[in-house]
Structures are given as C-alpha cells and as structure tokens.
C-alpha cells in the first residue's frame, strides 16, 4: 500500500477555446494515506474534477508532481497506473447492450496482455466484486436496464477487480437516493484502501471522510479533519452560504444545517 501525494501542482485547461480562470489549479498540495478516506469539497467550477484527473494521470500537470509511493505517475505508463489506481466516474457504458459481467470484467484490462482470455481467477474476482457491492446474480442483466444506484455499484465493482491500491471517485453519490448514497460510501469505507473522493453533500463528507480538502478557485484553501474544516466562516467564505454547525446527535462528526430564507 502506498500514499498518493500531490505536490506543488499547477494545471490549466488548454486548447478548449474558453481560457477563463475557472478550473485552473494552483499550488495544490494533497496527500491520501494508505487506508485513508479523503474527501475533496468545493463549489462548482472550483476545479475538483480537474484535480482528480491529475490524480489519475489524465491531466498532465504543468508543474509539480503526482506520486504514488516513490513513483511519479508521469514517469510510468498509464497501464502501470491502472494496475494501482482505480477510478469511479460518472461515465456509464449504456450502449450496445453490455451486461453487468462484461462491464465488471473490463476492470481486468490493465492486468491482461494481447489475446489473454478471462482466466478462472478473473471470473472469481468478478464474482467476488459483485458480491462485495451486493449485486451477486446480476451478471446477465444489461447494464442499461439497471437503476442509477445499481449502475454506480457496478462501476465500483469494476474498480474493485482492478485490485487497486488507491481508489478515486468523482461525485460518486450524484443522482442517488439517500439509501444508496449511504450504502455506496459505506462500501467504499469498508474496503479500507486509500480513497480520494469529491463529494457534493457536505454532511456526507463530514460523516464518512477522515480528512477533507477544500478547493476554491483552483487552490486548496483548507484541509484537516471535518471538525477542523467545516466551520461557519469557511462555508460563508467559500460556498457563500450560512450554516449552523453542531454535533451529530448519534455519531461523532459535525452536522450542518443550512440557514435558509424564504
């Protein structure tokens, strides 16, 4: 198990026509320990997705480094990274009637060479992953016919068969019912591997993350435990909203209540 660490990272979008300052990343420092659940929060357009893309070797930083243990990701092949870092995105393979088993088995791609078929071990891994996300027996269902929550869990299962050391999730709880939001994050926590997730819902972030990083205009403006980070001042300053913050009555983490006006 190794630590994912980002140091002095600079990145800005290139060749996308609109060269405004949104999505630019400046001076980003971030660490994800071996079995740590780290949350990335920040308003829309603060650069969360761009930062995650840097972390899984999609966006190449202009300056600074992304390291896994001792290794600089950009000194390694994308295959090397895929063998160690798995990613759960909001990109669903709905077309062509792919079934659940086929989608999950894609996760073996980085471990396979040309002409390699699926071995008995690969199939075993697929079955274990489906079991881990509570979808055993769904092998033959077409992916497109699943509900949003089930799709998200299939993608998580695909990440599991990659046998990663680090898991990266981009808004994993988007579009999910409360029940599935909780279930998914619980499942991820239970894996006990280093995890970096961008999370929209700050109460979920408070409940599940060991540490949080707050991104605003492409800079990390705060980091630490949920208790340290989620303060009324920070929420006012970064998100522009007013909130009451107290303890969750049943668990040991902060609870946010928005102060709304009608």
């Amino acid at each position: 198990m190794s630590t994912l660490s980002i140091s002095d990272l600079h990145w800005s979008p290139l060749g996308h026509g609109h060269c405004h300052h949104q999505f630019q990343l400046r001076n980003v420092e971030l660490q994800v320990g071996a079995s740590e659940f780290v949350g990335l929060i920040g308003p829309n357009g603060s650069g969360k997705t761009s930062l995650l893309r840097c972390a899984y070797r999609f966006n190449k930083p202009e300056r600074g480094q992304v390291r896994l243990g001792e290794h600089d990701l950009w000194q390694q092949s994308s295959r090397w990274c895929a063998q160690r870092i798995a990613v759960v995105l909001q990109e669903f393979p709905d077309a062509f009637g792919l079934n659940v088993e086929e989608v999950v088995a894609m996760g073996r791609t980085p471990h396979k060479g040309l002409f390699d078929g699926d071995s008995h071990e690969d199939r075993q891994l697929v079955q274990e992953a489906l079991q881990a996300v509570g979808l055993q027996g769904f092998d033959d269902h077409t992916f497109a016919s699943l509900s949003g929550g089930e799709k998200q869990r299939v993608i998580l299962a695909r990440a599991l068969v990659q046998q990663p050391q680090v898991l990266i999730l981009d808004e994993p709880t988007n579009h999910l019912d409360p029940r599935y939001q909780l279930e998914l994050l619980q499942q991820v926590r239970r894996l006990g591997i280093g995890t970096l997730a961008s999370i929209h819902d700050l109460n979920l972030a408070a409940a599940f993350c060991d540490r949080l990083y707050v991104l605003d205009h492409g800079r990390i403006v705060a980091s630490g435990t949920p208790d340290q980070v989620l303060t009324a001042e920070l929420l006012q300053e970064v998100f522009g909203v007013r909130a009451l913050i107290d303890r969750h009555p049943l668990a040991d983490h902060p609870r946010l209540t928005w102060i709304t006006q009608r």
Partner: protein, 340 residues
C-alpha cells in the same frame, strides 16, 4: 459462466456448420440451375480428386460451378464477413451504433478513384484497373480523414465521424460531377461497380481479400479488450490503462484498409456492416472476442444468400448486390423493430 461459454461455442459451431452447408447448397442457384448432387460431386472431384466412374456432369456445369460460382461464393463470404466485422469495430470505436464501413469516407474515396481512372485514364491494366484505382482512392481519403480529424495529438470519435462524413460528401460530389460530365458508356461501368457486385470474382483475385480479412480478424481479436474498454468511454478507457488515441488510430487504420480492399473488388455493398453487428450482439453480447467471430460468420452467411437472390431474381441478369442487401436488410430491420 460455464454454460455461457459452452453455449457460445455451440453457437459458433452451429453457424460454422450452417456456413459450410450454405457454401455447397448456394452453388446450385443461378441463371443456369445445377442440381446440388452435381455440385457436390464436382466439389469432391476438384478438392479431393474423387472422380465417379461415369462422368455425371457436363464440362459446362463444371465450368459454372468451379470457375464462376465457387470464387464468387468465396468472395461473398469474405466481403460479407469482413464488412460485418469492420462495422462492429467502428461502432465500438466511435461509440455510435449507426457507424458502418462506408461512413468514414473510404468508400467515397474509392468511388472517386475509380471514376477518375476509368473515365480519364482508361483501362491501363485490364480488369484490375478499377479495383486498383479504387483502392488508391480509398487510401487517399483515409489519410485525408486522419489528417483533418487529428488535432492537438488527439483523435476524438466525434471528430473522426464528422470528418469521415464530410470527406465522403466532398468525394462523392466530385465523383458524381465527373460522372455527370463524362462519357456515358464509361460511366455505366463505374455505376455498375458502385451499386456493388461480386462479378469480378476470379480464383486469382481471391488471395488478397482472403489474407486481408483473416489478418484483420487476428489483429482485431488481439485488440478485443481495448475495444471493449473503448465502449465504456474515453475517460474510462484511460483509467483502465489504455492509450485511447492509439487504439482508435489502429482500429481506424485496420478498418479503413480492409474496407478499401473489399470495396475495391466488390463496390459499395451497404447495410451488411451496419446491420449484422446488431444481430450478432443480440446473439452473443457486445464483448469483442466473442462478437467478432460471430460477426464474421453471420456476415458471410448473409452475403452468400443475398448473392443467390441477386443472381436468381432477375436471371439471366445479375441484380447489383448492393440493391439486394439494402432491400433485404432494410425489410429485415423493419420486421425486427416491429416485433420488439
């Protein structure tokens, strides 16, 4: 798992058996019908040297079966299987279920090449002039599409498709203009080729498409995992350790070259590459190491029998096979949609 695998093997065997039977039975049909029994005996004699004691067929029949219909049937199988396989791959690479071998500009380039040479340079190399010209045209348009589509070292599937379609339109416009202005007798030769036909089939010509199709199958099977991952999307493919651009470029090159070879010989035979992959996916799913062999077999079967229809429907004339595939394929699809 086990059962899915053995079911797939059974399906492959079944289709292969059906293909073998079709290969023999289809030879009996044509403007001069030959009884299946005679076909069988000619084949036994030619392939294994088993001659009956009393000659059971005429020299004419032997000629028709061995020199005309067998190469034609083999070409039909190669072209049908090849186009179906290319269609399946292009649909996955562009993530577009409507992609087909003719969409990426290759066919239009081939047409322009054929028109230019036949109308303005003439038959330099005899029968081979048109296929050669067509293949060179296909190559040019392939390179043109690539040059326009790649930008900043990237090769997006949307750009690839749009460039393919745009290049196809320009090439077709030029070809049609030349045909419109050109000599009508030469034009009709090109027109006939454009509508698609297997009339060029000769034994000497078969090795080129045969080697191309088999080589294409082997290469694409080797890329099966990458193709599967590309179906999941650009970002996902990268997170699975793929160089999406490289895979797409390679698939595009293989598909374009193979299309070029097939189109050069048989003209633009539509619909096989679009329709057969969808039928094959219903049978075995979208996973490419299983899908591609089934596409190859189904496409071969389909075109062998469509060619039978093409040479019997208005015999003694040959119906251009492109017309037959489009009509049969379209009707078949409409039936399929209504049943769903």
């Amino acid at each position: 798992m086990r059962s899915a695998n053995s079911r797939h093997r059974l399906l492959l065997l079944g289709l292969f058996g059906l293909l073998l039977v079709s290969c023999v039975v289809s030879l009996g049909f044509g403007s001069a019908p030959v009884p299946v029994e005679v076909v069988w005996r000619v084949l036994l004699f030619k392939l294994l040297g088993i001659a009956p004691e009393v000659p059971a067929w005429t020299t004419g029949q032997e000629h028709i079966v061995w020199l005309i219909r067998v190469p034609r049937m083999l070409l039909a199988a190669l072209v049908g299987g090849g186009l179906a396989m290319i269609g399946a791959v292009l649909q996955a690479v562009t993530r577009n279920p409507l992609a087909d071998p003719h969409l990426l500009g290759v066919t239009s380039g081939a047409t322009l090449g054929a028109v230019l040479v036949v109308l303005h340079i003439g038959e330099l190399l005899g029968v081979l002039t048109l296929p050669l010209a067509a293949f060179i045209g296909a190559l040019c348009s392939m390179l043109l599409v690539l040059a326009i589509a790649s930008r900043h070292g990237r090769l997006d599937s949307d750009r690839l498709l749009l460039c393919g379609v745009a290049v196809a339109f320009v090439m077709m416009a030029a070809a049609n203009l030349l045909l419109f202005l050109g000599d009508h007798r030469a034009s009709s030769a090109v027109m006939f080729w454009m509508l698609g036909g297997l009339g060029l089939a000769r034994w000497e010509l078969l090795p080129i498409p045969a080697v191309s199709v088999l080589l294409g199958l082997a290469l694409l099977l080797g890329m099966a995992r990458s193709l599967n991952a590309l179906m999941a999307g650009e970002q996902t493919a990268v997170t699975l350790g793929l160089n999406a651009r490289k895979v797409r470029l390679l698939a595009f090159l293989i598909c374009s070259l193979l299309t070029g070879v097939l189109v050069a010989i048989s003209g633009s035979i539509g619909f096989v590459g679009l329709m057969v992959p969808h039928i094959a996916r219903r049978l075995v799913g979208a996973e490419h190491s299983r899908l591609l062999p089934v596409c190859l077999l189904l496409g071969s079967l389909f075109l062998i029998w469509v060619d039978v229809a093409a040479r019997t429907l208005i015999s003694p004339e040959d119906l251009p096979i492109g017309i037959a595939t489009a009509a049969i394929g379209g009707l078949f699809f409409i039936g399929l949609m209504r049943r769903r």
